[in-house]
């Protein structure tokens, strides 16, 4: 950003637009020559603060459901439906994590998932690579239509 300011002084029109767009017009007008790098820095810092704020809100929104799930996993049955909602469970229990191994066939579930996932990855990659090669390199009639049909079926 600062390099751009220094270099682009000769062609006047584009640089004239630049402070207007970034909202730093007032500052650069009040300090015509000497204050220029400083005002850029201030705009940059303000921009950083705003960017960080917006991104933080987004991050919180994205992480909140996961945190809520984790919080719920430490609650008793009453705590789950408590009003007002508790973020830190009042009867704080790890019991649910102990029940994972006893209440249901979790290990065989993981095993099934792994078998399906590995097979799909290996067989899928191989066949997809072969099909992709055919679509990329070979000539055949109605190639585009075939490709679109394959895509819309996925």
């Amino acid at each position: 950003m600062s390099a751009q300011h220094v270099i682009t002084t000769p062609p006047l029109e584009p640089t004239q637009e630049l402070p207007d767009g970034s909202g730093g017009a007032g500052k650069s007008a009040s300090r015509p020559t000497g204050g220029r790098p400083r005002s850029t820095k201030e705009t940059l810092r303000l921009g950083n603060v705003i960017t960080t704020l917006v991104l933080s809100v987004g991050a919180i929104v994205m992480i909140a459901p996961l945190a809520w799930t984790f919080s719920t996993s430490l609650k008793t049955k009453d705590g789950v439906f408590a009003l007002p909602p508790q973020w830190i469970p009042d009867p704080f229990v790890w019991e649910n994590y102990a029940r994972i191994w006893t209440a249901g066939p979790l290990l065989s579930g993981i095993q099934n998932s792994l078998i399906v996932a590995c097979s799909v990855t290996i067989v899928g990659s191989l066949t997809s690579a072969l099909a992709a090669f055919a679509f990329a390199k070979m000539r055949m009639p109605f190639k585009n239509v075939l490709f679109l049909g394959l895509l819309s079926g996925s």
Binding site: P11, V61, P84, P85, N144, L151
Partner: protein
């Protein structure tokens, strides 16, 4: 859980800014927005990953050359970044529309009865209900074929539109 009217996560957030949130999944006006919010939250990571890869593969020298020519940050974004990530944008739009028109699992979990007044019943959900609840296999199969053709037509149009605006760099 997140959409429950009394203690759901979304309404907790809305209460922070002083809004009394609706009972999302029981209201005909809010059940679709609820599903949309959920689907966006779920798909954001995937889209972001693809865009991240695309942004990182844009060559630096394009920005340097544009800066030397006096392009503002916005002009660089408009004339370099957007065209360079255009293939990814196209891919995401096509696959998201295909995936969105085949949405089923979220609906079946969040509103197992199709929502209030059937307001969250998608095509695939309706096909599934007809086929496996009412055992009308023929009807369901016919709808599946029509849905497939519909998605095919939409994808075809998208490819056509993309070809017309194809961006190429020498």
């Amino acid at each position: 859980m997140g959409f429950n009217g009394d203690f759901g996560l979304i309404n907790q957030g809305l209460a922070l800014v002083g809004i009394d949130g609706p009972n999302w999944l029981q209201d005909t006006n809010t059940v679709k927005p609820a599903l949309i919010i959920m689907a966006i939250w779920k798909g954001l990571g995937y889209s972001m990953l693809l865009y991240l890869a695309a942004l990182q593969s844009v060559p630096r020298y394009l920005y340097e050359a544009a800066a030397l020519d006096g392009a503002s940050a916005w002009q660089q974004f408009r004339h370099i970044t957007i065209p360079m990530v255009r293939p990814v944008t196209f891919f995401l739009i096509v696959t998201s529309i295909i995936g969105g028109s085949q949405i089923f699992v979220e609906i079946n979990i969040m509103t197992p009865t199709g929502g209030p007044e059937f307001q969250s019943a998608s095509i695939v959900w309706y096909i599934w209900q007809k086929a496996f609840d009412n055992l009308q296999m023929g009807y369901a199969s016919a709808m599946s074929v029509v849905l497939g053709l519909l998605v095919f037509a939409i994808t075809f149009i998208q490819f056509r539109l993309n070809r017309r605006n194809q961006f190429s760099i020498d």
